[in-house]
């Protein structure tokens, strides 16, 4: 233990680990495949970063999103691990070849399941003496495995092919059932489980019930005017995120920006960093925002649309309060909001007609859209039409169940935290005015320092003179 802490001090300058970190490291040191379920915001990256430094062998990280991967690579470099690389479809042929040729020179290699499934890439990884094989956001294996990311199901075979390197699965959100399914789908045995509570006790939980969309907008406006910034508002559609951004700019006199996949790299960078630098009060985002970002002082997360499952909710609301100060998560619910979610979910899964059509016309179709790509995967892997119909039927039911569970959280009037933690097989009985607004409790926002005060002045940028901007850029102000 002391050995671990010495290394922590030596490389990162911290005196102590956060909950779960040292247990996971100890299990890895004993050579065990390890499942780490640690709450959002507890520094999961540090675990494999430190482990990589200790064993001096490359760490391979399977990561779900390309946009997230670039954030992670930037963050690793920022934290001092400069020899980090991401192998993504953004690389051209020559770049990819160059990286694969020098693969052993990198200490941390991020890659998506799709990429590592390609045979030339897999061969390069086979030559590598992998120190640790990390599956980040491991719940995606179950959440995304059957619909739009079937390659996640390949990981089992890949791990075998790579001579069974030590595996570390990391997630913040997985029920007992999901954890079991992850390990099962990866075909691993004797896994050491390090499971910490999902509970984020410094985030108060609230649901506001709205009569109609007008009422919802008014409630939202009054919340952002009342609560201390910065905050994130999550939406299910880019269009709504844009509309509410305009509405809030006009009505709330705050610095509000929209953030979603329509932004190009440059604007994405600007907005992320303006937000990190407290130049933006509110971000109106779709779920694309935040998987990679690490901002400590977010005081509130509001869901304008309810999430489609509890795992996503816990991930997104977990952006708040990473500095351990009091924060709040609020879902704005209007009757039938779940129908929007339901339609979005069903749109992602090919229906029976589509499956029939594909199996009849597979050789005439170009695989451009997500659904045909998905069907192609199953077709190429020898699944029959009936197999696929059954798989997607089951998937639809699962997603419907997950949505129903989320809805039951939203409609529950008792302690919300208890309800949430039940999903992760945890008990909870400490309800009070800092916990949630279930049980007819009035949250004590004042004492939690969550109410905006007159001291929270918003400073608008006022320096537009090019001389002084350039002088400040190049440290020539004095």
């Amino acid at each position: 233990m002391d050995y671990l802490r010495q290394n922590l001090k030596k490389w990162f300058g911290f005196d102590d680990f956060r909950p779960g970190q040292s247990e996971v490291l100890a299990a890895l040191n004993q050579g065990k495949n390890t499942f780490g379920m640690l709450p959002t915001g507890t520094g999961k990256t540090l675990i494999y970063q430190l482990f990589g430094l200790m064993i001096k062998k490359p760490v391979v990280i399977i990561s779900p999103l390309i946009s997230l991967m670039q954030d992670q690579v930037d963050r690793m470099r920022y934290l001092g691990s400069k020899n980090t690389v991401a192998i993504t479809s953004n690389l051209n042929f020559i770049e990819k070849k160059r990286i694969l040729k020098n693969l052993s020179k990198y200490s941390y290699i991020y890659i998506s399941p799709e990429m590592i499934s390609q045979s030339d890439i897999l061969e390069s990884f086979k030559k590598l003496d992998i120190g640790l094989f990390v599956i980040d956001e491991a719940h995606c294996i179950v959440q995304w495995g059957t619909d739009f990311r079937p390659e996640y199901l390949n990981l089992h075979r890949i791990i075998n092919y790579l001579n069974n390197p030590k595996v570390l699965m990391l997630t913040a959100t997985a029920s007992k059932k999901v954890r079991y399914e992850i390990v099962d789908k990866l075909g691993l045995h004797n896994v050491k489980n390090i499971v910490k509570s999902t509970n984020r006790s410094n985030i108060m939980l609230s649901v506001e019930y709205c009569d109609d969309s007008n009422d919802k907008n008014n409630k939202l406006l009054s919340l952002v005017n009342k609560l201390r910034s910065p905050g994130i508002i999550y939406f299910s559609s880019k269009k709504m995120a844009n509309m509410v951004t305009i509405f809030l700019r006009k009505e709330a006199h705050l610095r509000v920006e929209a953030y979603h996949s329509d932004l190009n790299n440059e604007n994405r960078y600007r907005i992320q960093h303006q937000f990190m630098d407290n130049q933006i009060d509110v971000i109106c985002a779709t779920s694309a925002f935040g998987m990679g970002i690490d901002k400590n002082n977010i005081r509130y997360v509001i869901h304008y649309h309810m999430p489609s499952n509890i795992e996503s909710y816990v991930q997104e609301m977990g952006r708040a309060g990473r500095d351990m100060d009091e924060s709040i998560s609020i879902i704005l619910y209007q009757k039938n909001d779940e129908i929007l979610q339901y339609n979005l979910l069903m749109d992602n899964i090919p229906d029976d007609d589509m499956i029939s059509f594909y199996y009849q016309n597979y050789n005439k179709l170009d695989n451009n859209d997500e659904q045909t790509k998905l069907l192609k995967y199953y077709y190429d892997n020898g699944y029959s039409k009936d197999d696929v119909t059954n798989i997607f039927q089951a998937r639809r039911l699962e997603q419907k169940d997950s949505l129903a569970e989320m809805l039951s959280y939203v409609l529950n009037n008792h302690c919300r935290r208890k309800k949430l933690l039940t999903h992760f097989d945890e008990a909870f009985d400490d309800h009070n005015e800092y916990c949630c607004d279930g049980n007819h409790t009035k949250l004590n926002l004042q004492a939690s320092n969550l109410i905006r005060s007159n001291n929270d002045k918003i400073i608008y940028k006022d320096n537009y003179d090019w001389h002084s901007i350039i002088n400040s850029l190049f440290n020539k102000l004095h």
Partner: protein, 341 residues
């Protein structure tokens, strides 16, 4: 597409095809797009919308312009400005920012150049604060390595001052407003610049105009570096490209060296129709004296064509009038280009 932009791209004298304007602005480079682009005197604008927002709802916009009385349909595909539309266009020319620095002969890879330059400024800026721990702006693998190597080669040789001086002398050549916009695009130590949307609010332009101002600023900087800074020339690698693509240029050279169309096609294993497209592309961009029309059009061809289309406006020529001759569409189009010069 922005209503104002479309209005500016139409004329009261010449009927213009809506789809063609869209394809031209989106950067489609078929011979037909390029030919009509040159007929509309709009070739400079080829591809300007490529990195903003592709034009999707042009039918809806044209209908709105018709409703306002600015535009009327000339036939099924072409539109013209009304007198009211012409007056509106004249006032827009005064007030709407269209790119002014585009070049007839060259394409600039502005996106690539911008990503190099932004990274360079960030590296220099953080270096001036002795900070090596920061999130770099995104650039592709090649550009990142280019800037990295450049930085390591020069960092001990007044690197910051050199860049600082170049950027200051460049900004001094601009008017105050555009200099300020440019400065607000830079990313560096504790400075993340402004998004197009933020710039548009601050300077009272539409986002499309901000984007056009951006195009001009980057082209001006490219030219500034080309003429004034041997130090930063490395940033220009592969940035300025001839509008005529490489294989079309090759075809042109082969023609000039005496090869016939059929021989060029054979030599490069291409279809004759491709070779003809190459030649038309050259003819469109080159001046009348630079292109050897007499190698492809015989005196007899020319006098026949002269007689057929005597005193007709070029835009209205119909190829079908040549049905009884042995003149193919390639020669017809080539003659049309020749007469346009």
């Amino acid at each position: 597409m922005n209503k104002k932009l479309l209005l500016l791209m139409l004329s009261n004298k010449q009927p213009r095809r809506l789809k063609l304007i869209k394809n031209l602005l989106d950067g489609k480079k078929t011979v037909s797009t390029l030919f009509w682009g040159s007929r509309y005197h709009m070739l400079d604008y080829s591809g300007i919308m490529k990195h903003f927002d592709s034009i999707k709802n042009e039918d809806k916009i044209i209908n709105e312009l018709i409703k306002y009385g600015y535009v009327f349909p000339y036939d099924k595909y072409q539109y013209k400005l009304t007198n009211k539309g012409k007056t509106k266009k004249d006032s827009l020319i005064e007030s709407f920012y269209l790119p002014k620095e585009l070049s007839y002969g060259f394409d600039y890879d502005i996106e690539e150049f911008k990503s190099r330059f932004l990274l360079l400024i960030q590296v220099a800026s953080e270096y001036s604060y002795n900070n090596s721990s920061y999130y770099p702006v995104q650039a592709d693998f090649y550009d990142t390595n280019l800037i990295k190597a450049f930085f390591h080669k020069h960092k001990n040789d007044n690197f910051v001052d050199k860049i600082y001086n170049i950027i200051n002398s460049f900004l001094a050549t601009l008017d105050k407003e555009r200099a300020s916009i440019f400065a607000n695009l830079m990313i560096g130590h504790d400075n993340y610049g402004l998004t197009y949307e933020q710039l548009s609010k601050q300077y009272n332009y539409s986002q499309l105009e901000i984007y056009f101002i951006n195009i001009d600023l980057w082209i001006l900087l490219i030219r500034f570096i080309k003429n004034n800074s041997s130090f930063l020339k490395i940033l220009l690698k592969n940035i300025v490209k001839n509008k005529i693509n490489e294989s079309a240029k090759r075809t042109f050279n082969e023609l000039n060296s005496g090869l016939k169309i059929s021989s060029i096609a054979k030599k490069y294993n291409l279809k004759e129709s491709t070779i003809k497209e190459h030649l038309l592309e050259n003819a469109i961009f080159l001046s009348a004296t630079e292109f050897p029309y007499n190698k492809l059009l015989s005196t007899a061809n020319i006098s026949y064509l002269n007689k057929t289309y005597l005193q007709q406006p070029i835009d209205l020529w119909k190829f079908s009038k040549l049905n009884d001759s042995n003149i193919d569409f390639f020669k017809f189009r080539l003659y049309q280009i020749m007469r346009s010069k």
